[in-house]
Symmetry: C2
Subunit: 283 residues, 2 copies
């Protein structure tokens, strides 16, 4: 855990002098990492060993080790994971909190990915006769995005928002078809049914969902994404982003597997789009 958060959390457990140190550090962490223990002790109006004890209480080896941890917390892009948006936040505050917590969630998600499954799924996708992407609610737009990405590969790819269309499409599946189902919770009934139908029709079902969910149990392969609790109570936020990034990973794996010749094809698609665009002026 981020040591700044840790200091904030443990603040109550600190002794009087340790609190002084904590406050000085929290008030100006950038200064703290560039100070010696003597300087910091003087700033906090506390003795040097007290600062040292403070560091050890936070499970660091000593002052230098503590500074290392602090430096890491302050590093660019290392976000406060659990900074939830608060009712009284200013636009500046909630904007930063949302970006930071999104980045933090991506980091957690990244670590939770099983690369072997990714590799296996990329294999499947490159060999698929037809690829379908389905999701509902917030995950529908992820499926939509996947359609857009894979469509450029010039492979038969299908996406429906309508659950009846989804069902019909799956009933017509056959061996060699891959159905990718996206759901954060993995508890959406109709999507679980889609998984069952698809498998009955010999399609391979890939779930982008949380492990141990009902949906996960019905899938041939599960790309499980661990995403921290969403920042906003009522809307999926980070989970979507993690799913999208995973789609990017799959799409990238796909192009890499297909090799160079294939990438030229992609370029062609891109060039075709040019007609619908305003050209960029020089200078």
């Amino acid at each position: 855990m981020n040591i700044l958060e840790k200091i904030t959390q443990n603040k109550a457990a600190f002794s009087k002098s340790e609190k002084k140190v904590a406050e000085i550090i929290l008030a100006n962490p950038q200064t703290a990492i560039h100070s010696s223990i003597a300087t910091l002790a003087k700033m906090s109006d506390v003795s040097e060993p007290t600062v040292n004890r403070f560091c050890r209480r936070l499970d660091t080896k000593g002052f230098p080790d503590f500074k290392l941890h602090l430096a890491q917390s302050l590093a660019n892009g290392t976000p406060y994971v659990n900074r939830h948006v608060d009712e009284n936040d200013s636009p500046d505050e909630y904007t930063n909190k949302i970006f930071e917590s999104t980045m933090a969630s991506l980091e957690v998600a990244r670590q939770s990915i099983d690369v072997n499954v990714v590799n296996r799924v990329v294999d499947l996708l490159t060999q698929a006769q037809k690829i379908s992407f389905f999701g509902l609610g917030a995950s529908a737009s992820v499926a939509h995005d996947a359609l857009n990405k894979f469509f450029r590969f010039n492979v038969p790819v299908v996406y429906f928002e309508d659950i009846l269309m989804q069902r019909m499409s799956c009933m017509n599946c056959s061996a060699g078809d891959v159905v990718v189902l996206i759901s954060h919770t993995g508890r959406t009934k109709s999507l679980v049914e889609i998984a069952q139908i698809s498998r009955m029709n010999d399609a391979t079902v890939v779930g982008i969902t949380s492990a141990d969910s009902p949906l996960a149990q019905e899938c041939s392969y599960v790309l499980s994404l661990e995403v921290p609790e969403d920042t906003d109570m009522y809307m999926p936020m980070a989970s979507r982003i993690a799913q999208l990034t995973l789609i990017d990973v799959l799409a990238t794996g796909f192009t890499l597997r297909r090799g160079n010749k294939f990438r030229e094809n992609l370029k062609r698609v891109k060039d075709t789009l040019r007609g619908s665009r305003y050209e960029k002026r020089d200078g």
Copy 2:
């Protein structure tokens, strides 16, 4: 700049002994930050002052300062911004690269946002009679996502993929309506036209696009997002994610502005969804 990258880049300019040090550090940076200058000197088979000189050559104050920088480079979530996917990457490598560069892009995007415009747009949205979200291609799924988010707020919200429907919808706009147009490049002709049509019909047009683009010029307000070059040559990746996160910011600003009573309404929407889900078992 990331000090690890810096070491790699300057490697040619190092002297023989300094190269030894560089290699030991690059080979095992995690060990390096936990070693004393004496240990590191011994590992590199070099004297202590040489290590010190090495640190100074990299524009640090000395060895401890160097360790601080190194620690920051190694911090969780601090990505190598310019790590592009390479043809020969293993699944593990490209997965990590994509996640890391996505996080890096979010960080850049975050810094480029003008919070005042965000605030102003949130104002507009809360007071809008009708909100429309339009995008094409990769941005279509972003618009789709925005629909999903704002639909929960129980406000009149519109989204079309079809450009004719988009046009017709905009022709029926009136004062008080807000049209949000999403495009990474801001050079999609039909979207620029949509902006013009909307403004002619007294709607307020908000662009989520890059500054100085043709689209930006037609908008009443521009939420410009600076996103580094996409990792993959042929597909928009990071830009989409940044757009989505910005949508999250707007949605969050929206709920905050509307206050508590409004949030209860949101909860109700969420509860309604429960019937379509499998309940989570305890334990």
